[in-house]
Symmetry: C2
Subunit: 359 residues, 2 copies
């Protein structure tokens, strides 16, 4: 796996896990699915195929301290710091110029820090097959598509085109990208068999994505060139910040993928879950005979199918079903499971009310 | 109202209001129904008809400090301290010997510290009528009966006998007392029109109740005589404690009322509520347009008919109905409203698990 680099995008803010996730502790740093945080698990997965020095993490400045505390073995030179988040296009572009400068033949495996993957060996086989595909198609952008298991409205979709290969893993040309659909449309996508979920995991050469950026997002590309020129200089941080103040916030999907001429999709079938809400955390948690998943000092009576997490205090619950209870030292969330998407609303309300200590 | 004394029984432990009520802060010291605690409101009501020096409070030693902090104007000599609670018969007996020694013609108006009364003027009229009734029937025990508003299973009942008076307030001889009934029986009582709820409010001469105790509870009476002999001596506290270790725990209803020869009941129609659970607190609380009663820093969305109390923390609740949420610094209760009687179960469980810091 020479020339191969993992780029783990860790800058997200994740307001859906309030009150555990805060500005200072976003989702990827929480232990939502076991003893390790999401980012520790994400890094651990790529350590199976890459040496540590080929693993890069892109994060924002305000997360640098929690990042280094959770990944204390990671060389500081492998952390690429954004002054602040500007969505995935600048994040990936920034990583690309750093890697292209280091190794002109760099291939990037890009992935979010906050997804869960249950079948690690299959995931690794898929990454290897994706890298092979890029090595055979150096001008291509490869994306990992997840076989949908239900008509989700929370994900973007990728429509398959002509098949590219069937071994070792199925791959196709991409016919089209679709943004998060309505339920009607999601059901059509789901039953057609022609669509994958967009996982946000990409594989491509650094010079290829930079060429696409030059063509499709020229303003961003100009900014990245200024940063590239400053790499190794003492004013790198200052130049990066100046550029970031000027560029627009944009996703790589909207900025590049939907307009690129050669995009391939490789089939991902490795137990992927983006763990997008407390409900999803409940789904992946181990439950007792009443369907409850419990952490901390908790006393229950006539409680079913609930997720309960207590940090410091005694929590006692009587006679409720389908509840999410997240108890932190300064804030408490009680939420019907099916309403867990509304947690974002609480964060918006706190912002609006200027209750900033809870953000 | 010469010779008249109020005796407010404040020794109860009230486990139904956990986690607000604790061993050190029982129900009567909580602000469950307004800006004052239950005991402050109870004392305030009798202050309308009695001078402060005629108001006595009986409490247990471990509550003495919270009692004096909430009733800081009350002379120390008006606090009768039980070493520990032994139910209402010893409590009333102890008050009776203290008052009988002070004033051989003392009439006691005895009431629990933790009931709510909404129509104070009617309550006062009833007490005055009860005192008149005792003055006309010096050998009688007078109890206040509440007209039932539903077939409650949580109260004892009093069956009316022959009428004694119709003015200013209806009064009857008591035919029988009935313990807390099953629902079937409660419905019969309720529809018969022959029964009152037993309010636990009594009016009688101190010497009359002592005579009944001598006859019906001779062991308790002997103990009380030992205490009476020690009043004014330096070993009063020690003698009281020795006696309390020997006597049995017994209610005045079971120990005296059910066996006494002359018991009268006067009709109480003054908005009485014993506020027996968090559900009852919800019932008496002011609610917003969604039927929610809220105290503290609380953010709600799609929440209906719930009672929420936060002490220090931010509480956010999404998509639930009919919930009780009581948030204290070290413990949290979440309870379906109709399950609020089960809060006692939590306290039992904490005892069993030796989680004593939460008791």
């Amino acid at each position: 796996m020479e020339n191969i680099y993992a780029v783990i995008m860790a800058g997200g803010v994740g307001t859906r896990f309030w009150p555990k996730s805060r500005k200072a502790i976003p989702k990827q740093y929480l232990n939502l699915a076991g003893r390790q945080s999401m980012i520790q698990m994400s890094v651990g997965r790529v350590q199976e195929i890459l040496p540590d020095e080929n693993i890069y993490v892109v994060s924002t400045r305000d997360q640098e301290s929690i990042l280094t505390s959770q990944l204390d073995w990671l060389p500081k030179s492998n952390i690429i710091v954004e002054p602040f988040g500007k969505n995935t296009a600048p994040c990936i572009g920034l990583a690309a110029i750093h890697l292209a400068k280091k190794n002109p033949d760099a291939i990037m495996i890009i992935m979010p820090a906050d997804h869960l993957i249950s079948e690690i060996q299959q995931f690794i086989l898929t990454l290897k097959a994706g890298v092979d595909l890029v090595q055979k198609n150096q001008d291509a952008l490869v994306t990992l598509g997840i076989n949908p298991t239900f008509p989700a409205t929370g994900y973007g979709y990728i429509q398959k085109g002509a098949p590219m290969q069937s071994e070792p893993i199925m791959a196709y040309q991409v016919r089209a990208f679709a943004e998060k659909p309505t339920l009607d449309v999601a059901e059509k996508f789901y039953h057609s068999g022609e669509f994958y979920w967009n996982s946000g995991i990409f594989i491509w050469r650094a010079d290829t994505i930079l060429a696409y950026l030059e063509n499709l997002m020229p303003d961003l590309y100009q900014g990245l060139c200024q940063i590239a020129a400053a790499i190794g200089r003492s004013d790198l941080e200052q130049v990066t910040e100046t550029v970031y103040r000027q560029i627009f916030s944009e996703s790589i999907d909207y900025g590049v993928m939907e307009h690129a001429s050669k995009v391939l999709v490789i089939e991902g079938d490795f137990g992927w879950d983006d763990v997008g809400s407390w409900e999803a955390v409940y789904d992946i948690s181990k439950k007792d005979e009443n369907g409850n998943a419990v952490k901390g000092n908790v006393i229950l009576k006539d409680v079913k199918n609930s997720y309960i997490e207590s940090t410091e205090r005694l929590v006692s619950i009587l006679g409720v079903d389908d509840l999410i209870v997240i108890d932190t030292p300064d804030a408490l969330l009680i939420c019907k499971r099916k309403k867990s998407q509304d947690v974002k609303w609480v964060v918006e309300k706190l912002k609006h009310d200027e209750q900033t200590s809870y953000l």
